[in-house]
Point group: C2
Chain length 216, copies 2
């Protein structure tokens, strides 16, 4: 298909497609004449993946390029690709190395030990967890870890089990890796949206209303 | 305290503090002489809140300003402030209005009905949920909703209950609203980090390893 058809099928404007090709996010089409390229189903799929990572996942173009390079490199273990993806998704915290951060590191390590999770200390998610807990601590929410963290942990164990069951049926490595990356990025978006809805519901129940008031 | 002390206590560089004052994120200090301002504990706290929203939550300066305005307006109901915060956190999806989105809207509405959640159709989280599900659908993961969505929903119900229990002890409105905003933004960061760790653990167990290999 020509670029116009590719644009029509994916909803991505032609100039954006050309930009992605220049930036290495999308392989160039096959030249059918000096100034006309042809695209196929693999371009449609790749373009949808790029858009999902950018629009739903909120990744930058540079982050998407890194993640796609990792996905496409058969020499890299799946957990490394996942680490690269997560590194690109998690905002980099640069808060001070203070008592709040020290306490947060301990809270994270204790939680991991308590749950018996098999993760290395150097995993980037351990750092982002400690960063988030440190921010809670600095704002006077030191009790959050003690009060709510195990409920969160129990909940994500159920989610991880569902994730594993979902990707288990993928046989080919590239499909598997892509599923994991998509599941990670889009799954986060699903999870945070659902959390908001469950909060609204819990709040409505706590205030004893049968249904939300009009206009809410 | 002077601006240098404020910087030392929060780890935020002086030029950044001045930028936040110019942008309206931080009230100006009280002028003690024509070119010297004094700051107090309320500035420390506000600055920590701004940094948490920017660094951990990944919000833009404009988004933080909107959220803080909503928090500070006593006339706005809590759920509206939360909606404003969520609107600013969720990336705006602009995917095509295709069959995948239509299916996603239906999947989201059916889930909400199935769980008996009391949320209005117009809630921004319903839209972001449908956006994320539409992206899954477009990438050939139509089965995700059916296979994993109820496990996710069950998990967030537990999380929302923990959130409610945590904020219930806040009496003053401003404290309550701030807790909800902080809990929403930082709680998302905690949740996605934990999800990653639980995935790593589930993957290690599935591959039958007693502990992660060195360097992993």
């Amino acid at each position: 298909m020509r670029v116009g058809e590719l644009s029509r099928r994916t909803g991505v404007p032609v100039p954006t497609i050309k930009y992605y090709v220049r930036e290495g996010l999308l392989p160039a089409g096959e030249l059918s004449s000096p100034n006309q390229a042809r695209y196929d189903g693999s371009h449609v799929r790749r373009l949808r993946l790029v858009r999902a990572l950018v629009e739903v996942g909120g990744l930058s173009v540079a982050a998407v390029r890194d993640v796609l390079e990792a996905v496409g490199d058969p020499g890299r273990p799946v957990h490394e690709v996942l680490g690269a993806a997560h590194d690109r998704i998690a905002p980099r915290a640069v808060g001070p190395d203070d008592a709040a951060r020290e306490a947060a590191r301990r809270q994270a390590a204790e939680l991991i030990a308590r749950r018996g999770w098999r993760v290395e200390e150097g995993n980037p998610a351990v750092r982002s967890l400690a960063d988030a807990l440190a921010a809670f601590n600095r704002l006077g929410h030191e009790r959050f870890s003690e009060a709510a963290l195990d409920a969160y942990a129990g909940a994500v164990e159920r989610i991880a089990a569902a994730d594993m069951a979902y990707v288990a049926r993928k046989a080919a490595r590239e499909d598997l890796v892509e599923s994991v990356v998509v599941g990670t990025v889009l799954g986060d978006a699903v999870l945070t949206s659902l959390r908001r809805l469950a909060q609204v519901d819990a709040s409505a129940r706590a205030h004893g209303r049968d249904r939300p008031a009009a206009g809410e």
